[in-house]
Amino acid sequence: MSLLEISGLTLDLPSEPSCRLLDGISLNVGAGETVGIVGESGSGKSLTARTVLGLLPGGARTSGSVLLDGTDMLRCPPSVALDRRRDTVSMIFQDPRSGMNPVRRIGDFLTESLRLCEGWSKADADERALELLRSVGLPRPESHLSQYPHELSGGMLQRVMIAGALTAAPALLVCDEPTAALDVTTQAEIINVLRKQQETRGMGMLFITHDLNLAAALCDRVYVIHSGRIVEYGSALSIFTSPRADYTKRLVAATPTIPSVSGRRSSAAASHGRAPSAGSAEPALEARGVSKCYAIRGGADIRAVDDVSFRVPPGGALALVGESGSGKSTLARMLVGLERPDSGDILVDGVSRSTRPRSRAERLKRARAVQIVFQDPYLSLDPRIPAGAAIEDALRLHSTLRGVEARARVLTLLDRVGLTEKHSQSKPRTLSGGQRQRVAIARALAAAPGVLVLDESTSALDVSVQAQVLDLIDEIRRERGLTLVFVSHDLAVVRRVCETTAVMKQGAVVESGATAGLLEHPGHPYTQLLIDSIPKPRRSLHAISQ
C-alpha cells in the first residue's frame, strides 16, 4: 500500500453559490517517492496538500478519503490527526519568515517539540538540533541555535524550516512552494538539500509548485491540477516533453525556458527592431557611472549600485538581471527618478535627470520620458480608483484631452492592453492579477513615454498569464517603438523580450551583451551559475525505462 493515498477527494465551501474547490482528486505517494503537484494560483494545489495534514478551511465539506499510512485524515478524531502530524507527516511552507516566531531563537524552534512532546532533555534535544542543522548544510550550527530568525537570510531560514520538519523523522514531507520566495541560486541549493534528505531518509515527498521546470527537475511523477481537478499525471519527463491534456500543453508552452541550443524566440527577439548597436545613434537611455549608497545605522555603507554604465538605443530592449540585493530595483527607481544617484548621470534622449526637477513643467516632462510598471499589480493600483479613472487621471495630467475625448482615449488604451469598457468601471480588487497588470501598463502608456521600465512586472503573475503579458509588452514595444528596460531575476523571462542583457551582482554589472550570446556562452562565472541554477527536467528512472 502507498504511504499516502488520496482517492476521490472533493471539498466544498458552504458559500452562496456552493463553491467546489477540489473535485475528485486522486493521487498516491509511495515510500521514498517524490511526487509533484503542479498548478497555477487558485487551482487547489495547496488545499490538497493541507488535507494531508488534516488542515481544512472552516466549514468545509469533504468526501472521498485521504489515507496516510492507513489513517483517514478526513475522518479520524483530531487527537489521531495530531499524532500523525507529530510522527508521520511534516510540512514546509512558502515563506519561512512568517512561519517562525520572530522573538524566539532558532534553537527553541527546533527543540521545543522534542522537549515538550517527547520529554527529551535540553542537552539531547540540542544535540539533535545541531545534527539536523548540519544535515541541511547550514554553515555554523552551534551559533545558529542562539540566533533569532531576523539574523538569517531567507535561504538559511528555509533550511531551518526543513530541519524543523525533519525533527520527527517523518515518513512523508509535504512541501508547499518552498522555494517560491527565494532567489534562483538559493532555490537550487534548497532543492539539493531536499533531494539529499529525501534520498538518505527514504521519505516520501509531496512537492507543490507552480513551476513546471522545477517539478520536472525534482519529481519522479507529476500531477497537473487545474480548477480543483487533476487534468494529467505521469512521469515528470513525459508530461514535460509530450503533454496530452490541453491545459498541460498550454502550461508547457507558456513556461519560460532556456534551451541548450539557440531557441526560436531568442532569434526572433534578436531579429526585430534592432537599431545599430554601439553608439552610432543617440541612445534613448544612457547611464554613465551611476552609483548609489545607503547608509546603515551603526554599519558600513552599502553600495546598492556601483558604477553602472549602459546605453540603450531607441527601440532597444535591455534586461537587467540579478538576484535580490543585486541593486537592480534601485537602478530602476533611479531611472524613473524616484531616487537620485550619488554620482554618475542618467540621460534620457540626451537630457540629464539626476537632479531634482525644478518646475512642474520639468517634472511632467520627465514623467512623459520614462514610465514604469511595478512588480505587484495588487499593490501598485489605488484600491479606491476604478481602472478607467486611474488611466484618465494620467491622461488629464499629461495631455489636453478632457471629457468625452479623454474617455475615448481611455477606452482605446484599455482595448490596446486587451481589456474592455466593462473593466474601466472595475475597482482593482475585482480584477485578476493579469488584468491589473494590464491596467498598470495602460496607465503607463497614457503618458506616451519613450522609455518603459518594467520592474519585475510579470513575476507576481501565473505562468500562463505571464506569457500573455510578455507577448503584450513585446507587441506594444514593436508598435510604438518603445525603448524597454526589463528588470528581472529570471533569465528565461527576459529572453522572450530583450535582445541585450546586463547581469548584475552586488550593485555592479558583471557581464553584458546580446541575450542569446550571453545564454549560450556565459563569460562570467556568476552568469554561468545563474543559468545552471535554473531547474531543468532531469531524466528520471521512468523516463529511461520508456
Binding site: S380, R384, L397
Partner: protein, 286 residues
C-alpha cells in the same frame, strides 16, 4: 434539545451580514435621540421650563411619562430639549477635532522629518492634559456656556484624530500605488489630499464616532459641575446636578433618567464606532 432551533436551522452564511443586533439597536437608539432632539418643539408634551409647584417629584404617570423634577418640570420634555445641547456639543467637537486632526495628521504623516517631530511632541503634550481639566481652564478664562467647553474639548481631541491619521498616512505613503502616482508626475500635495486622504477616511470616521460618545460624557460632566450650559436651559448633565437634592430624599428617577441617557448614548456610539472599524478592517484585507 430545542433551545437553538432557529440558529441551527439557518446556516451561518444565510444570516444577514449586517445582522448584528447590537449594531442595529445602537443605530436605532442614536436615530431616536436625534429625532427627539430635532423635533423637541413639536413632540415634547410640555414646555421644558414650565414650573408646576403643585406637582413636584411625581412618579411616572400617563400625564408625565418620566415623572417631574423638584420644581415640577416634566422630565421627558426636559430630556428632549436637553438632547439638543447634549448632542450638539459633541457633534461640534467631533467635526472640528476631525477636520483639524486630519490637517495636522496629514502634515505630520506626509512630510515627516522635523514637521512630524514637532507635531508629535505637541500631540504628546496635549495627551498629557486631561480633557476635563483643559475644559475647566477654558471656562475659567472665557466664561460659562457651550462655546468655551467645545473649544477646549476640540483641542483635547485633536491629538486622537491626528495621531491616527498620521500613522495611517505613514503606512499609505510607503505603498506602491503612491509611488506609482509619483512616477506619473503628480504633485505630492495632490496625491496626499486627493488620493491618500480618501483612502484613510473610513478608519478616521470610525474613530470620530467613538470620540462622540466620550465627548458627550465629558461635556455632561462639565455641566454637572455647573460649568456648561447654564440654567434654566435643559441639559442632561445639569439635570443630574439639579436632581441631587431629590436623590438624597430618595427620589432617584429625575437624576437616573438623564444619567441612563448619557450611558446609553456612549455605549451606542462605542458599538457603532467599533462595528464601523471592524467592517473597514475586514474590507481592507485582500
Amino acid at each position: 434539545m430545542t433551545t437553538f432551533p432557529l440558529t441551527r436551522a439557518v446556516p451561518r452564511h444565510f444570516r444577514p451580514r449586517s445582522g448584528n443586533p447590537l449594531f442595529t439597536a445602537a443605530i436605532i437608539l442614536a436615530m431616536v435621540m436625534v429625532i427627539a432632539a430635532a423635533a423637541a418643539t413639536l413632540i415634547a408634551p410640555y414646555d421644558p421650563d414650565f414650573v408646576d409647584l403643585g406637582n413636584v417629584l411625581s412618579a411616572p404617570s400617563p400625564a408625565h411619562w418620566l415623572g417631574t423634577d423638584a420644581v415640577g418640570r416634566d422630565t421627558l420634555s426636559r430630556m428632549m430639549f436637553g438632547a439638543r445641547t447634549a448632542l450638539l456639543g459633541p457633534l461640534l467637537v467631533v467635526l472640528l477635532s476631525t477636520a483639524l486632526g486630519i490637517g495636522f495628521g496629514l502634515l505630520a504623516g506626509w512630510f515627516g522629518g522635523w514637521i512630524d517631530a514637532v507635531l508629535c511632541r505637541v500631540f504628546d503634550l496635549l495627551f498629557a492634559f486631561p480633557a476635563l481639566l483643559l475644559a475647566i481652564l477654558a471656562v475659567a478664562i472665557f466664561g460659562k456656556g457651550l462655546t468655551a467647553p467645545v473649544a477646549a474639548m476640540t483641542i483635547a481631541y485633536i491629538p486622537y484624530v491626528a495621531r491616527l491619521v498620521r500613522s495611517l498616512v505613514v503606512s499609505e505613503r510607503g505603498r506602491p500605488y503612491v509611488t506609482a502616482y509619483r512616477v506619473q508626475g503628480f504633485a505630492g500635495c495632490w496625491i496626499a489630499v486627493k488620493r491618500v486622504l480618501p483612502n484613510v477616511m473610513p478608519t478616521v470616521g470610525a474613530q470620530s464616532t467613538l470620540n462622540f460618545g466620550y465627548v458627550l460624557a465629558d461635556l455632561a460632566s462639565l455641566s454637572f459641575l455647573g460649568l456648561g450650559v447654564q440654567p434654566p436651559a435643559a441639559d442632561w448633565g445639569a439635570m443630574i446636578n439639579d436632581s441631587r437634592g431629590a436623590l438624597m430624599s430618595g427620589q432617584s428617577l429625575p437624576a437616573l433618567v438623564p444619567a441612563i441617557a448619557v450611558v446609553l448614548v456612549v455605549i451606542a456610539m462605542n458599538i457603532i464606532g467599533e462595528n464601523l472599524s471592524d467592517r473597514i478592517g475586514g474590507r481592507r484585507q485582500p
